[in-house]
């Protein structure tokens, strides 16, 4: 065990000890504390906890790389995952807080005076949340096996054990206060390397300004984004700052679907049940977005700068190739294999970077083989394929080493990735267990159980959910990446429209709501299954998952917004054809619309 590894393990161990300490301090006694932290969380604190709850392993580890790969169109993820908070703050959070119960399916069940509606909502919630948990478990695994160099099983099981302690005993209260600690760890681990990389490349310490900053190459000053554009084009990729890699229609629909999906995620919505008052819910959504925006506005800078670092490493002098592709034909335009920097060799071993001297010229050629012109150029010069493959997760994970930072920063990134995964997992696990104990058990199957029995059921279903998540983390289904699209699609198509109509349409009745939810749910499932295979068995797909076969060229991952429109339309038509809701429901709607008064 070398010094770095000891450092890594002690930093992660310290954060774990902190989480457990908080769990012991925040033990819960009542169902209100367990489900909604006794509704006593300060709006700023709740904002911070929401940010940790929301920002998953994917946000922390993969997003910067995803944006680096997509360039301009990566903005769909940035705008989608933040714009959803506007929907949540304006259309849902204050009203659901005023309603004042414990879970999202509970609101749907009460507002639409129907156990069927509640069960449909529970089913959506479970599909969304379990899907999501799998991704978090994978994130814990990546952090452990790639940074800490600890076997995946050991990492996962110790992560599960910590989550178990603070979720089962602390419920929402324990989760809230650990999430605050996890946010601090996470944001520190993300911004410190970003500040250094920005300083190194542009001389500007604030990454958000650094991305617009200039770099000095060959005695001249040029904007970083322009330098990226000019370099990427010469090796066959799309310019960084231009809308490419995705059609405008798909970028539009993906942005919209992610926005609506974000606003419909039950584990995030329920966080706004924990603040004392309606006005706190409004403000708290803003604070949540402040804390989220710190990371989300840094991510594009990290993505672009890491890409520049990588290009600068593999291409001897990028300025020489601008408007001069022929220069690439000479081997010494490229990095020599025996001169690769230490971090490249290190990440080459983990498999996140793949280096292979296909044409055995001792130099590494990196280009886009899918670009026809570039492929022809490569063939002409005897290249045997691009010799570098880059896993998008590398962008964040390798950052501190690329910038040559102190080993403690490397350890912090590991702790940050784990904090991001655990905080989101905890929120999801609570949503899953409260849907089972509060909605299915207490709400539908055994309404007569006492509060004490319900608490026991909540803790037991939490424990079961953790075991399930752990199992899925150790034996990840092959389709894990695909189903994340499904989670957002379903949240957008089933839960968000129904919740919104519950607040904004007094006349909406149970028939309309149920029909709408099912229409959104089934149309989205169907569209995804047609291209990805029914229940994700690829051989059952009806069409290849390619743009030429998509309906109107619409990617299945961008379908959620269309599903939401189906939900609205079907609900509206069915509502017009059926009886209005009873008087007390109209009064309920009136009462959730204003802070005080009836």
């Amino acid at each position: 065990m070398d010094g770095q590894q000891i450092m890594n393990l002690s930093v992660v161990g310290l954060t774990f000890a902190l989480y457990i300490g908080i769990a012991i301090w925040a033990r819960t006694g009542s169902t209100s504390e367990f489900y909604v932290a006794g509704k006593g969380v300060h709006p700023v604190a709740n904002g911070m906890a929401t940010a940790a709850d929301w920002m998953s392993a994917a946000s922390f580890i993969s997003m910067a790389g995803l944006i680096a790969f997509l360039g301009y169109s990566g903005g769909a993820y940035l705008m989608g995952w933040t714009g959803g908070y506007v929907l949540m703050a304006l259309l849902l959070a204050p009203y659901l807080r005023k309603f004042g119960k414990f879970t999202v399916p509970e609101f749907i069940g009460d507002r639409f005076y129907s156990k069927t509606a509640r069960v449909v909502a529970v089913v959506s919630l479970l599909v969304i949340s379990i899907t999501y948990v799998i991704g978090q478990m994978r994130g814990v695994g990546i952090a452990f096996s790639n940074i800490l160099e600890v076997p995946l099983e050991v990492g996962l099981i110790s992560g599960m054990a910590v989550v178990f302690i603070y979720c089962v005993f602390g419920g929402m209260k324990g989760i809230t206060y650990t999430q605050i600690a996890q946010y601090v760890v996470m944001i520190f681990a993300y911004t410190v390397p970003a500040i250094f990389i920005s300083l190194t490349i542009t001389g500007i310490p604030i990454p958000q300004f650094g991305l617009g900053g200039s770099i000095d190459v060959a005695g001249e000053s040029i904007h970083l984004i322009q330098a990226l554009d000019k370099t990427l084009v010469e090796i066959g990729f799309a310019p960084y700052s231009e809308l490419a890699n995705m059609s405008m229609l798909n970028m539009f629909m993906l942005t919209l679907s992610l926005m609506i999906g974000t606003a419909g995620l039950p584990h995030v919505i329920v966080r706004f049940f924990t603040v004392p008052r309606m006005r706190d819910a409004r403000r708290s959504a803003g604070w949540a977005l402040v804390f989220i925006a710190i990371l989300y506005t840094t991510a594009p800078a990290v993505g672009a700068m890491a890409t520049w670092n990588l290009l600068n490493t593999v291409i001897d002098d990028p300025t020489e190739i601008w408007d001069n592709r022929e220069r690439l034909a000479e081997p010494d335009a490229w990095m020599a294999y025996d001169e690769q920097p230490g971090w490249m060799a290190h990440w080459g071993q983990t498999g996140l970077l793949g280096l292979n001297d296909h044409n055995e010229d001792g130099h590494l050629q990196y280009y886009n083989p899918n670009d026809e012109e570039m492929a022809a150029f490569a063939e002409e010069h005897g290249w045997q394929g691009s010799e570098l493959t880059v896993d998008r997760d590398i962008i964040v994970l390798a950052n501190p080493q690329i910038a040559g930072l102190h080993p403690i920063v490397v350890a912090l990134v590991a702790a940050g990735g784990i904090a991001a995964a655990l905080s989101t997992a905890a929120g999801l696990l609570l949503a899953i267990s409260s849907a089972i104990s509060h909605d299915l058990l207490k709400g539908v199957m055994m309404p007569r159980i006492s509060e004490k029995q319900e608490m026991l059921a909540a803790r037991l279903s939490m424990a079961a959910a953790i075991l399930l998540a752990g199992y899925l983390g150790l034996n990840p289904p092959g389709f894990a990446a695909e189903v994340v699209a499904l989670a957002f699609g379903l949240a957008a198509a089933s839960l968000f429209p129904t919740l919104m109509m519950g607040v904004f349409m007094r006349r909406m009745n149970k028939e309309g709501a149920i029909a709408g939810m099912l229409a959104g749910l089934l149309s989205t499932l169907l569209y995804i299954f047609i291209y990805k295979g029914f229940f994700f068995f690829p051989e059952t797909a009806l069409f290849p998952d390619q743009e030429a076969y998509w309906l109107f060229g619409l990617n299945p991952t961008s379908f959620g917004a269309v599903g939401a429109v189906f939900n609205f339309i079907v609900a509206y038509i069915v509502m017009k054809l059926t009886a209005p809701p009873p008087k007390e429901i109209r009064e309920l709607v009136e009462s959730i619309r204003t802070p005080k008064a009836g």
């Binding site: 933040t82 506007v86 304006l90 958000q208 942005t255 977005l289 506005t297 006349r507 204003t594």
Partner: protein, 134 residues
């Protein structure tokens, strides 16, 4: 939402106090454009939060939501996506091509401003109508 407007207008015609719906809608709109800071809307006392005050409160809420959602969609889906390539040609801000800026930075800042504006506006509206929580 549309059915709600219908029912509002239906009731509104029986009510003398808020005036006819079209006039009223115009007044609310212009008040908002001036920053919504002036004209203290005379909110009734909490104990008589009557049917008409309730409707008035809700209508103001819907108006401000409509304006905010319009900005929300225009900045992100409009400037960030549909007009992005055009804006990129037009110029740059802080070293970012303009469209790229809205797609990867600007929209997020506008979202933040919208949420805090809405919270401020509604919390003020609550006080004007005397319906704020203790």
């Amino acid at each position: 939402m549309s059915d709600h407007h219908q029912s509002q207008e239906g009731h509104g015609s029986q009510d003398a106090s808020p005036g006819t719906p079209p006039q009223h809608g115009g007044a609310t709109g212009s008040q908002h454009q001036q920053g919504a800071a002036g004209s203290p809307a005379p909110g009734p006392a909490p104990d008589d939060f009557s049917e008409s005050a309730r409707r008035e409160y809700w209508k103001k809420n819907l108006t401000v939501i409509g304006v905010c959602m319009g900005i929300w969609a225009f900045v992100s889906l409009g400037l960030g996506v549909l007009l992005g390539p055009t804006l990129n040609e037009l110029g740059s801000i802080g070293g970012y091509p303009l469209g790229f800026f809205f797609a990867q930075q600007g929209s997020i800042y506008v979202f933040l401003a919208l949420i805090f504006f809405y919270a401020w506006y509604m919390n003020r509206l609550d006080r004007q109508f005397g319906v704020e929580e203790d």
